[in-house]
Amino acid sequence: MPESNILPLKPKGRQEAGAGFLISVDALGYRRGGRSLLDAVSFELSRDPGITVLLGPNGAGKSLLLRLIGGLIRPDSGTIRFSPDFRGPIGMVFQKPVLLRRSVRANLLHALAIARIPRRERTGMLARLLVAADLTHCAESPARALSGGEQQRLAMARALVGDPGLLLLDEPTASLDPAATAAFEALVCKVAGEGARILLVTHDLHQARRIADDVLFLHKGRIFEHTPATTFFRAPASGEADAYCKGTLLT
């Protein structure tokens, strides 16, 4: 991945490491069709830059939780609070990148326009985003003609528009081959290294081991543990997480 600073895209004074939460989720509940999909989910994300991996088996409610935090859907109960000084949008990347039927450049310019970035600043930001996501060579290509990995990196670049206070990534590498996955993970780690706060959903244990600073383990709509990644993989506190790591968890 070429060297360039992705963040900050504009001067800011947020996310100095220190005490307090960036997001506090309290007793979140979500029911549909008589089934409880999320049940009393509570956790906090610290303000420290880094990658929190939301880990859990299929159907645990991971993507649902991400969409609730992203404000795409509303919870039936509970609250999601952001720290008073939370700034910037929430950037989101989905498992299947939805790209406009335009060139790579036009996709990013569209996102810059939607974020109401002043016109004179767009050219510089566009160039930075293209370099950061390693897409300069295909800037004029139709976005939908890119490889899966390139499409997902474009979706990531788009999510970085407007200097997001939080990045929510929903199984972004689930459809990618190992090389594309490695390139995407490198981009994620680079963005985190530059001060971004990232919540990434995956069911891939290996990926969680590679990039997680801390792990939130979700199973059947409930949080079973939230621990530093090293602790989680050395000695999971819950039987469910232990079984998941061993591949014996029944869903």
Binding site: L72, P89, R101, A145, R158
Partner: protein, 220 residues
Amino acid sequence: MLPGSQLMEIVALSLKVSVTAVLLAALIGIPLGALLAIRRFPGRTTLTVLVNALMGLPPVVVGLGLYLLLSRSGPLGVLQLLYTPTAMIIAQTILVTPVIASFSQQIFSDLHHEYDEMLRAMRASRWQTVLTLIHEARHALITAILAGLGRALSEIGAVMIVGGNINHATRVMTTAIALETSKGNLRLAVSLGLILLALSFAINLALHFLRSRLERAAHA
């Protein structure tokens, strides 16, 4: 046999009336289709059913209704529009708008389903959402416009009633064909019919290539 200049006059008027009607119908129908696809409001289902039902509106009935409105004793008689190309354009706009609106609704509905989550995640305003969808729908909307143009060019019932098929004034291809057939000039009627067919085919072909080119450029 019609002199060449008169034939050109008829073809030109046909195109002028139908193309103007389709443009007006697109100006009304595309936003209407977008509204029905994207917004949720009371009466939306009723309006959708109505628009779909109006696609099958008999041209003769539209012509009759407009005739009653525009005739000298009608509420809009003072405008003196009856038997003018303007009246024919109004009639065809009424006929084509539901076609374009209905096609547009389906197009916008599919795109909205595809892009909704992404645009909401980007915090796009409603206006930004609509503009994005219209831009993304640009290729597919050509099909909606083609369907409208097909209906307009082939229509006879409404233009006959409100236009009156007046030579050098409101005679278009379809009304000319009907007239020549009734006079027994079958060769001329068939010739006019072939010209109408060729014209329709040429327009469709041109727009088809335009759409293909645009789609290839966007890899849509």
